[in-house]
């Protein structure tokens, strides 16, 4: 604590004000720890987000196998389940990957939700004048509701193509059959939902990719332009790569 001269105004809040500082006068600071701090939680968000991005890149590339026919696509799907054999039993490596991805989604959401709540508490009284964005970002303002759309989509997507619960070809079909049945033209609303979610992922990563570098302290003055450029390019590739398969099924290119 710094010694203050008598001419310095007191820095304690005036009596009756709602601010509740942890350090005032001689009280000791309560340590909030890494995971309690907003910076720590944001780092969790960045790292788990990065893992999910790596997954998306792999997932998108795998999807494109659909253009090489049913055999190629099913063989790839089978490879995912037999990955690591004979060292690991059937589906063990895949299950491990799924557990890691699931944990990442849970941690990512925990961080997003808890920080959104803190942000809400930090501005209890809203501005009367509509606050104009001075920085002109668009994607950044879609992160929270976009994330919810992505989550809802992921749940539907798993029920549709992984478990086959809501898929016409069902659990007994091959992965390729589920793909073709799931995005069949008469089920256009599935493709629509899929497209909206994929665009949301694109916006999420348009901001999230460079933001993660900033959060992890890896950005600096000169790197913003290339980082934002790369974020836009990677997001665009992912959106196109994910959209082309269902569109091909819808239009009969893949059947």
């Amino acid at each position: 604590m710094i010694e203050r001269g008598t001419s310095t105004a007191p820095v304690d809040p005036p009596a009756g004000t709602p601010a509740k500082p942890v350090t005032t006068g001689t009280t000791r600071r309560k340590s909030v720890g890494f995971l309690g701090s907003s910076n720590g939680r944001k780092a969790v968000m960045a790292v788990t987000g990065a893992v999910l991005v790596l997954f998306l890149v792999g997932h998108m590339t795998g999807n494109l196998k659909a253009f090489f026919g049913a055999a190629s696509f099913n063989e790839y799907a089978n490879f995912l389940r037999t990955m690591g054999e004979p060292l690991l039993p059937y589906r063990v490596a895949l299950t491990l990957v799924e557990v890691v991805l699931g944990a990442c989604i849970v941690l990512h959401m925990w961080s997003a939700v808890s920080l959104a709540r803190r942000a809400g508490k930090a501005r209890p009284v809203k501005y009367a004048a509509k606050r104009k964005s001075q920085a002109g970002g668009y994607a950044v303002h879609t992160m929270r509701y976009g994330g919810v759309v992505i989550l809802l989509f992921v749940i539907y997507h798993l029920l549709d193509l992984t478990f086959g619960t809501v898929n016409p070809a069902g659990w007994d079909g091959t992965p390729y059959e589920r793909l073709v049945a799931g995005f069949a033209p008469e089920r256009w609303w599935v493709t629509l939902f899929y497209a909206v979610a994929v665009v949301m992922v694109g916006l999420h990563l348009r901001h999230g990719l460079w933001s993660a570098f900033q959060t992890l302290g890896l950005a600096s003055g000169r790197s913003y332009r290339p980082l934002k450029g790369a974020a836009a390019a990677i997001s665009a590739v992912l959106v196109l790569g994910f959209l082309v398969v269902p569109v091909a099924v819808m239009s009969g290119v893949i059947k």
């Binding site: 350090t23 001075q134 302290g217």
Partner: protein, 245 residues
């Protein structure tokens, strides 16, 4: 020029507060925004009304006391300008201008447009200092500093602690302010001994005061009268992660 002002009036910390509309006539375009409020306040006093309370001191853009959200933008829409340096020529005749205090839980309203920014002081107290041997002044250049580092540290040090970054941030985060203070010291050799403990203590104090976290929206830099760059926040994140290893 003639103006209609919608001003936040609040008698004290416990008062609920409300927007009140005023008409101000014969405003000179050469007046500063605060001078325009002075004119209105003189009239309010003559009429036996309570003048609008607002913070100000230097009126030349260097002390960081003034600050209000004008038409939804902290310090008004003029870029890199404090409210005291904002001139009425940037407004149109007969404009309707909304004036509100900084809105953040850690900045409670004291009266009208005056908020208590001592949360910033406590963030600085937590770690915004260096330990130096007391005694006679050291020789100049006894500790060499690279020109680029000196420049960047100086840029960060120009933060006047006005709080516009908090007011503009959709998350009510004090990251730009805290990052400016951390960067200013951590780029210089004199700031190295406490570098890790400083980042940790200041970030924790920022949280403890009730500021929100950063989502890299960039709204803070856009309104900052001193143009503190966003990469100070990357520096803060870097130092904080380093200190948590």
């Amino acid at each position: 020029m003639n103006l209609t002002l919608k001003v936040w009036r609040q008698n004290g910390p416990q008062d609920k507060g409300r927007m009140v509309t005023y008409r101000v006539e014969d405003v000179s375009p050469d007046m500063s925004f605060l001078e325009m409020l002075d004119v209105l306040n003189e009239r309010l006093i003559l009429e036996g009304d309570d003048p609008i309370a607002f913070d100000h001191d230097c009126r030349e853009g260097i002390c960081g006391m003034c600050g209000m959200v004008i038409n939804g933008v902290a310090h008004g829409e003029q870029v890199a300008t404090t409210t005291c340096q904002l001139h009425m020529r940037h407004f149109e005749d007969n404009a309707v201008i909304t004036i509100e205090p900084w809105r953040a839980a850690p900045f409670p309203v004291v009266k009208d447009l005056v908020v208590d920014r001592s949360a910033f002081d406590r963030i600085i107290q937590a770690g915004g200092f260096i330990s130096v041997p007391a005694g006679s002044a050291p020789d100049a250049h006894s500790v060499p500093v690279k020109k680029v580092d000196a420049d960047a540290a100086f840029d960060a040090a120009t933060c006047i602690g006005c709080g516009a970054c908090v007011a503009a941030c959709p998350n009510g985060s004090a990251s730009l302010f805290t990052a400016a203070k951390i960067t200013h010291l951590s780029l210089l050799p004199q700031g190295q001994p406490e570098r890790d403990s400083r980042a940790k203590a200041m970030v924790e104090q920022m949280d403890a005061e009730g500021f929100g976290g950063c989502t890299n929206t960039g709204e803070c830099t856009a309104v900052c009268p001193k143009g503190i760059p966003l990469d100070t926040i990357a520096q803060m994140n870097r130092d904080y992660l380093r200190s948590s290893k």
